[in-house]
Amino acid sequence: MKPFVFLTSLVVSSAVMADQGSGQVLDLLNKMSHALKSLNYHGKVVYMHEGHVESLQLFHKNDEKGERQRVVHLNGTREVIRKGDTVTCYLPDSQSVVVGTRRFNNHLLAKLTKGIEKFADQYTFDIAGHGSVAGRDATIVSVVPNDVFRYGYRFWIDKDTKLLLRSELVGDDGQSLEQVAFVELEVVDNIPDKMLMPAVSGDSFTWHDGKDNSKTEALPSSWHISKMPNGFKITGRSKQRMPNSSQPVDYMIVSDGLASVSVYIEQFNAESQGFIGASRMGAVNIFGSVLDDHHVTVVGEVPRKTVQMIAESVSSGSALQ
């Protein structure tokens, strides 16, 4: 096993791990990411957040046509279907369908293959123990943030298939912000295509198509973020078409490789209804602010102080990022 060498000795001490430990975690997380993408599986999931419990059903199919995943709310009618990087949300209760593009390119796998030591400043990875989920033996991986600007995670990884059986988002005082867990899981050779199609016809619904097109003009990199927590970088820029807006909005995705934060910047116009200040939906924090004649909205699964810092650090001009 290739020994990991920490590049600087001033790496936060909590990040020091035995070579074998970190190698083990890296290997396991790599396998997990691979399993999540390549296997065919389906099951029932409970989603727990802020004391509420929801039941979902999940189907994941991977074949020559690519990867598809469908998540259905079992107490409601909504569902989210992802085909490759196109994510379609069916919302029958508001008779709308929203289409978007997945752009989180810094998938955990991609980052980790470059060496876990790159995360050393931000997170500490460890094997935390073993457990049982949906009747399967699992290895528990803990991901502990090294500062207060991001959340932590715990992953229960199936020892057999390496699928992610249970996942927990841990807040800055150790509380469980969100958790998903399979209560049933079946890994199969094939899943009928029908299971990856929406149960509702969206034909009569209002469609909001926010897909990124490759032909979208490149966003002039005129927006900068002067202050971000350690390890966060702007990893993508685009224009996003939002529902009910005639003008696309300028967009940046900011990530530390594990957490993601979206930054929306739009010019005030007649349609503007800007939100200012902090808000939250579960584990997702939002912060809105004003920059000259623009409105900035920052959204992410990070603590409020992080979205606030980013929102208040957006600037225009030729300043260095």
Partner: protein
């Protein structure tokens, strides 16, 4: 604080207890207490809706992957529930897995897949938890025919998510016909009996967009879709624009 679903009395602590329960780590008594506590007062129907998923799978035959201890715990807990909470066998469901030859759909005989009468009936998620059941209760057809996105007619063979509880007298759901005069836009605001600082509807489009873009963040491709499908805040806002 937040929006979302109706387990008023369930605290984070109970969430952790539930978590342990799912792991098969709680004793029988504690499991029963947990379910009883979750189901007290007005949240009976919403609470049971969640657990019907588990009980359904138990009745239609256990998939091999279900943890044996877990099944026992759920069944024993269910058996001790007051009768009114026991799930009524759906009049429209045939349950037996053997009716289906396809090994995959066989599993789904007892599973509730999302409601299929989309074009004509809109099930307002919020009405599940509405304290005033003023909306009429309509009968959900057991099979509905609709045109799938591929243009082919499809018949939904799975029973709808929302089931009539029949004899118990407690409707499990209300349905609202989506004629233009009773669209969800005109639906009265959901009343809550706990302090609730709702997410500003203006923010919802950002949350949905972010969730789509960031699918896969946090090492998991399920948090993002889970947030979208479960949020009761994602009701039709005032900004819908007809295509």
């Amino acid at each position: 604080m937040q929006e979302l679903t109706g387990d008023v009395n369930m605290t984070i602590e109970k969430g952790e207890k539930l978590s342990a329960f799912l792991d098969g780590e709680t004793g029988r008594d504690e499991s029963n207490t947990l379910i009883s506590e979750l189901c007290e007062n007005q949240e009976l129907k919403s609470c049971w809706e969640r657990y019907h998923v588990i009980s359904d799978s138990m009745r239609s035959g256990l998939p091999d992957s279900i943890h044996d201890g877990f099944a026992d715990k759920v069944m024993s807990a269910i058996a001790t529930e007051p009768a009114i909470l026991a799930p009524q066998p759906s009049p429209i469901s045939t349950k037996p897995a053997q009716a289906h030859t396809n090994p995959i759909t066989k599993r789904f005989a007892g599973f509730a897949i999302a409601a299929s009468v989309a074009a004509l009936a809109v099930v307002g998620v919020q009405t599940l938890y509405h304290e005033e059941t003023t909306s009429q209760v309509a009968t959900m057809p057991d099979k509905s025919q609709f045109i799938g996105i591929d243009g082919q007619p499809r018949v939904a063979t799975a029973k709808p998510v929302i089931r009539q509880s029949g004899n118990s007298g407690i409707p499990n759901a209300s349905t609202v016909s989506s004629s233009s005069s009773t669209s969800v836009f005109n639906h009265p605001p959901l009343k809550r009996n706990y302090p609730d600082k709702s997410v500003d509807p203006k923010l919802l489009k950002y949350i949905v967009n972010h969730s789509q873009i960031a699918s896969g963040s946090g090492g998991s491709d399920i948090f993002s879709p889970a947030r979208i499908v479960t949020s009761t805040q994602l009701q039709g806002g005032t900004n819908q624009v007809q295509r």
